[in-house]
Structure formats: C-alpha cells, structure tokens
Symmetry: C3
C-alpha cells in the first residue's frame, strides 16, 4: 500500500493547524476537530503514569468554541504569539475509521517585549478520521515534556 497520499494529507492538516494558532486565528482552531472531538493537554509524567489529570480537557467542538470565546473575552493574560516547529510524523496504527498518528512539536513563544523563548516541547498523539470536510481530529492529545509552563493561560498548542 502506498502511504504517501495519507502522509501528505496529514502534513497539510498539521500545517494548517499550526498556522491557525501561530497566526492567532483562534476561531479557526475548533474547526479542525469533529463535533465530538477531544482535545487534551497533559504533562508527560501524568500521561506516562496514567494519572487522568490534564491541564486542559475539552471533549466537544462546542467546548472548544467556549474556550476560544473565553480566551478572547474573559481571560486576562499577556499577549503572546506562538511559533510551532512540527516534525517526526508517524502513523502508529490504523483503525477501522482512521489513523493513530504521533509527532513532535516545539513551540516558541514571543511575548510583548519581543523576546522568543521555548514555551513547550512535547508530542502530539492524534486520532485522525476522514470527514466530509477532509481529514479531522477525533482526538488530539498534547503531552508536554516541559512542566514549567504558565498553567493559567493554557492557550491550545
């Protein structure tokens, strides 16, 4: 079987996903998920030991939209910009309706003073399925190596 078309489709999805967050288009972010999609951000040690204590858990597109609304309107936090370096995409399993995919990310953050620093390094563990609008996330679990992150803001990566 030729894996190149599916890897190509995944690369395009990931590039669009990162661009939406890096360009600050938060409203576009929930659209990468199925309606019943899951987004989770969890520390490596909790993930490794099976402790179900994520920093962020949103289990529907509706919750993601609420989160974006809240980030835009209610939360007070310092303006910042993300920049993703994404690499190492691997299909790790094929399910009846989609693909398990893992990859690596390094997110650099630039605060208002103009200094860029590593904000978070980690892995994405994804469950991708084909939908009418193309490849979408049924699950995106972000497992961050970096545990010294400002937990209050928790903008999606």
């Amino acid at each position: 079987m030729d894996d190149r078309p599916i890897y190509f489709a995944i690369e395009r999805l990931f590039a669009d996903y990162c661009a939406a967050l890096d360009e600050g288009e938060l409203e576009a972010w929930p659209e990468f998920f199925l309606d019943e999609g899951l987004y989770q951000m969890i520390a490596r040690e909790n993930f490794a030991f099976g402790y179900p204590i994520p920093l962020l858990l949103l289990d529907s597109k509706g919750m993601m939209k609420d989160r974006v609304y809240s980030l835009r309107n209610a939360n007070i936090y310092q303006p910042h910009r993300y920049r993703h370096a994404q690499s190492g995409i691997r299909i790790t399993a094929r399910e009846s309706d989609g693909y398990r995919v893992s990859s690596s990310y390094i997110v650099v953050q630039t605060l208002n003073e103009g200094v860029s620093e590593i904000y978070q390094a980690g892995s994405y563990y994804d469950y991708l399925v084909h939908s009418d609008s193309g490849l979408r996330f049924k699950e995106r679990v972000c497992v961050y190596d970096t545990s010294r992150i400002p937990t209050l803001l928790a903008t999606p990566v």
Copy 2:
C-alpha cells in the same frame, strides 16, 4: 490536481536555501532568487499594521550580492552560525506565474562561545516561480515575531 509534485519541489528548494545559510555559504544565497527578486525582513507589528519599515529590503539579485559582499568584507560582527527549523509549508494562492507560499521558521544561533539560543522565530511569505534554473523566489518576506534581535548585523535568514 495532484499537489504533491509542487510541494515536493518547494521542500527541496527550502532545504537547499536553509542549508546554504546554515553552512555559511552566503554567496549561494542570492542564486535562490530571480534577477528582479525581492528579499525583505520585517517585524511582525510593522507587517501587521502595514507600516513599510523593513529591517532589511533588497529588491534585486544585484543588491543581494552587494549585501553579501558587504557582510564578508566591510561589516564587523561577531561570528555566528544559524540553524533553521523549517515547517508548516502551505500554498496559500496560485498566481498565473507561480505560487504564494507561507511557512514557519525558528532560527537558532550559536555564537563563538558555543551557546545556542533562539535568534528569531517567524513566518516566510513567499512568491515562488518556475525559472530555467528551477523553482526560485520572486519574493521572500521574512516576518519575525522576535523583535529583540540585534538589528545591526541582519544576516539573511
């Protein structure tokens, strides 16, 4: 239409471009551009608000060669080495003679003391066209998130 060949060609061009800069082969850098090519480096806030105040603007291959000559012979700056992490390539529009392409970069700099730090994170906004020597830049606009960069040197990224 199968986009895979053009994405593959863009990936090869970008890998060659980054390697030239990361290996210090500055003389090879203007050759990635058309004769009337444009290279611009501009801060995110100026770009976003439409202020035409780039840190660096070179609007022909001749000017780029002059810049390289000047970096090699006249300018005094600390030796440094760049390392690009490039990802998130997206064709955002098709023009009659080429492609609008955006992507992300994180450039790590290593100074003479041997410490590596994030020098600049940002986006490339490119206009690529097919020429006799292959795919080339009609425009490369580097919009950097990081505004605390040493502006005197301005070696191309």
Copy 3:
C-alpha cells in the same frame, strides 16, 4: 528519476529514529544501524578543520549496544528528555550502495525541574543503505554547532 519515494523513505526512517530517542527507547536506537555501522558526534570546529577528535565514536552496532547498556546501568546522570526538530533533508550524493544525506536538527532538552532548553543544534551527515530490514544507517555523523554541551553524558542525538 522520481526522487519522491526515496525522500519519503528517508523521512519515515528519521521520524522513527527521533521518536526512539525522544521517547527514551534507547534499546531501539542501535537497530537503525548496520552491524558495521558508524555513529559519531563531533564539534563543528573539529569537523570543519578535519581534527579527528569526536565526542563520541561508536563503529559497530555492538559498541552502540554497549553504550546503551552503560547509559542504562553504569553512568550517573540527571534524567532528561530530548525533543528533536528535524528538517532540511537533502540527498547530496548517490553511491553505488546508497545515499549521502544531510539534514538539520535542533534538540530541546527537558530536565527534571521541567524547564526546556536548547541542548544542541547541528547537522546530520548520513550514509544510508537499503538492508533487509529497510533503510538503515551505514554512518550517522552528528556535527553540533553548540559546543557548550555537558560532555559527560553524551546520550546519542
């Protein structure tokens, strides 16, 4: 000649290689090499001037396994986790039995306190050959720009 299949195979190999190291699966690491494979980590200035003083030189899969055993059992070092950003893959030459390939890496390290920092930036210069188990390293030479690295540990990157 269509280079896309070989580039695709290299991308998959590199993604698997980085994942093994980033997930801490050190035992899987020697399996990416031929039995008589070479792994070398050397500072940019030594490499550039032809000084044969690598930080780490292992010239068989057996030596690599010994190194892993030693890292697991004998060496005392602070727990850490790596995260690779790999990009810029280029086939630079074709040999009768394989390919010379160069690429760039930035490795971020997260120590036990949970802070992520750039550990090492550099280039991979590889010699890849087809073996019965797929594409494997005959040589992987890691040339690091960053010379201020803790040399005692020298876990492979």
